[in-house]
Point group: C2
């Protein structure tokens, strides 16, 4: 990979942001949305609702909703649509974790420091909870009367393409068949662009779609810049995950550490070594920042949360 | 349940139909749509595509797409939208069967006379194939540029509500927690209204939604009649399933027979006995036919496929 220098004009015209206050507000907002759209103990099967709520409410970094809202802030998107999009991407993420932890997949018993959904509710109920969380994600977007119908369809389309066989599920399938095999950095990158990158990129694109009134030229310029940004942070996120899995203990991580090596999985650490992986993550953060500098001026000035998100994805310790 | 008499005017003004030719055309059309939307051996993970295609292409009665097209014929719906809706409901049905057959659920090795998806592709790949089939269902509807955006959103909404925690997945969760318990006929009916009825009803509603140009009065009258029709045939379908499971061998059924009894599941046969269950199915078929008689005149004349579908759901031997 070639060297990437910070853009000379980086952040010169950007409005300052209080990232920690904003992140706390995002965390509260996604809790509220999950409480509304995935309440515990209600509906046709209270146990199913409990399992869905448990899986969705567990916490985590809420990276995907934060991306939706950060882009929404940047492009002045519609608040109702942004909320629905943020909730939907988080529910798809939550469903993927529930299924990923199942015995036939990673067989993991610990997630975010707590028992995984199938440990708490049994395998069959966890399977259904994952299924129904995916459905609920589309429902949240498709049924929201506060969102213009065409935007609802567009958000469903972005979510579906990113999470299906060409995106997240496809990446997981590649991962499954690649276990125990040596992967090139290129093949590894392709797998992760799908497995984790696609949904992160969809978060960015859904955020942008929530501003349908942007002039076409401006929207196209934003899409170009934000796609590069999303691609870089998506990959950076996975590289850092691999670095952390190889170098941090389970208690700090809140999930089982060292499992990539035990499962004989190809990771950026096994493929290029720990130091080179750390260096790659740093370069990707700079790439993301540089991409934000290519936004149209008005949006560039409001990209403070996006810039800080990229920085923290690489600096995180868990 | 009270006695239900055939409507005196039944079928007097209905145009005759060649049901068998139409059913064969439907079967070919859904094969074509699955070949287009869920091709084998392509995409990010050819194995995943193979598993998805296997699960979707296996065959079966194609009841849900037939319902979409039968309603579409009745209300003169948009052909592109009807195709997308028909494909989407079938993919949701296919995903639910893949997950339902998994070892942690019904642990079934035979489906439509062939090995179930996890037997052929392994549990992990079958799990992912089910997940990605659900996603593809929404993608087929949400991404189809030939459908008006508002209709795409409406179809996604109908599909999501019917297949999620309040519908199909909710019914499956109730089924899971009810195994080994005695259920009242009322509780059993509620479970099946969700587990199988909701998606059959959604097929009917999606078909109706594909005719957005219907006058509001006419559309409302159609919705009332078709909801009653869908509810009756949805329940009839399940009652007949229970009757067949208790009285027909595996070879005829194309799946493992007698498993309800072995799994100690509450069914209409265990709750009310075989003869009473057969009688209930007959009464529900008459209810469905009577509901079609309450359609506005123009639609009533074109309800031939719907009428014959109801008759065959009850008369089927597998």
């Amino acid at each position: 990979m070639q060297m990437v220098e910070p853009h000379p004009a980086a952040a010169t015209d950007r409005a300052p942001v209080d990232f920690d206050a904003w992140a706390a507000a995002c965390a509260q907002r996604i809790r509220d949305l999950i409480g509304r759209h995935v309440p515990a103990g209600e509906g046709a099967s209270p146990v199913l609702s409990d399992a869905m709520h448990y899986a969705a409410a567990l916490g985590g970094k809420r990276m995907r909703p934060m991306l939706v809202w950060a882009v929404g802030d940047c492009v002045d998107g519609d608040a109702s649509a942004l909320d629905a999009a943020a909730c939907a991407v988080e529910l798809v993420h939550a469903y993927s974790l529930v299924h990923d932890d199942l015995p036939c997949m990673d067989n993991d018993v610990l997630r975010r420091g707590l028992p995984t959904t199938h440990v708490k509710f049994g395998e069959a109920m966890a399977l259904l909870a994952g299924d129904a969380l995916q459905t609920r994600a589309f429902e949240v977007v498709a049924c929201d009367q506060a969102i213009a119908p065409a935007l609802r369809a567009r958000l469903c389309a972005l979510l579906a393409v990113a999470s299906g066989a060409q995106g997240m599920a496809g990446g997981q399938a590649i991962d499954l068949t690649a276990t125990g095999r040596v992967l090139s950095e290129e093949a590894l990158t392709d797998m992760h662009r799908r497995k984790t990158g696609a949904l992160l990129a969809a978060s960015v694109r859904m955020g942008l779609a929530c501003a349908p009134a942007l002039a076409p030229d401006c929207a196209a310029a934003c899409a170009r810049a934000l796609d590069v940004y999303a691609d870089a942070i998506g990959l950076a996120f996975q590289v850092v995950d691999d670095v952390l899995d190889a170098s941090v203990d389970s208690a700090t991580l809140g999930k089982t550490a060292g499992k990539d090596a035990r499962q004989n999985k190809a990771t950026f650490v096994t493929t290029m070594g720990l130091d080179a992986a750390r260096g790659l993550a740093q370069r990707l953060a700079i790439e993301a920042e540089n991409a934000l500098e290519t936004l149209p001026r008005l949006q560039r000035e409001r990209a403070g949360y996006l810039s800080e998100l990229a920085r923290r994805i690489v600096a995180r310790g868990h």
